[in-house]
Amino acid sequence: MSRTVDARGFSCPQPVLMTLEEIKKVDKGEIVILVDTDTSKENVSRAAKSQGWDLKQVQQEGEGYRITISKG
């Protein structure tokens, strides 16, 4: 079951920090991150990859994005 990080409404770098916090809690699995700017989408995707997580999917959702990352 995937965990969700709702980072909508937060300015960069908050979405990255929230994602990294969530990544620290789990070794593997799936995490969904909701963001509402292109900048956050790019930064969160890069940050996840730098921690060894795969970018499974990036979908447009409303005015923002649903980013799914996975590991293991």
Binding site: G9, F10, S11, C12, P13, Q14, D36
Partner: protein, 295 residues
Amino acid sequence: MWAVVGTIPDQDFPLVTGLVSLKDNAISIQGQQIPVSRGTPALLAAAIKAGELQGQPAPYGFLVGDIGVGVGSRRLCDYLAKHLGKSDFRTITFHYLQPNVRWHNRVLSSVEQMTKRPILVADAGSMYAAKMSGKAEAYDLFTPDIGELAFLADEQAPHPLYTRGFILHEETRVPELITRSYTHNNAARHLLVKGETDYVTNQNGIQATIDYPIVEAMEAIGGTGDTLTGIVVALIAAGMEISEAATVAARANRLAGYYAKPTAATQVAEIVSYIPGALEEILAENKKGEAKRVA
């Protein structure tokens, strides 16, 4: 009626709304007691003390526990978005809340549905959110410290983390930062800037500067900025014009600190107890129309 929105530094503190009272260095709301310490409790305590002097009824509090992660703030903003539109508060002060643009905009939309537009005051995280949302002009008063003013002035910065001067305060740049905040529409109608010198300003420029008395120990005491905001909010709620309220509050806050004869270990609750006397003195002076210099 006047309202204060903020957080309590206890993640188990529930979302509570109701009239707030002060007794024995604790604020009380719906049976919950909260010690007067820095943050929203100190603002409320100062506001209540200043309000009592003005014959004001108790303020209405919207409070929730939040230790800085934002869980409580989100719940409180959801609640406000649903309920504020039907209320009739004359003044609403937004204090410690996690700065989030979405939550802020939903709350502001709710405020805009009120039959009569209230006076809006913001400080701390609520003020950051207002600027981040591009809606600073919707507010009547901000009470930033110098670092927060630097954030308001930095039209490029999406967040305080990007701002030069947010944690390394540049006292000499205050007038320039004030101008820049207004130029880029990132200031409320009025600003009360808290620092070694306090500045009262609006779009027309600096209206007053207050730099006495200076009490060295006050720098060490957490919450003295919150008490300043509390006093000005109470005066505005009592009907005082905003620039005058800010000037009186700045002088009264300093005088209360002076009369408390604090050491660096003094807690903000003790300063609060001197607010009524200090405020009474400043208001009396104002009435006489004299400036009095404290030796």
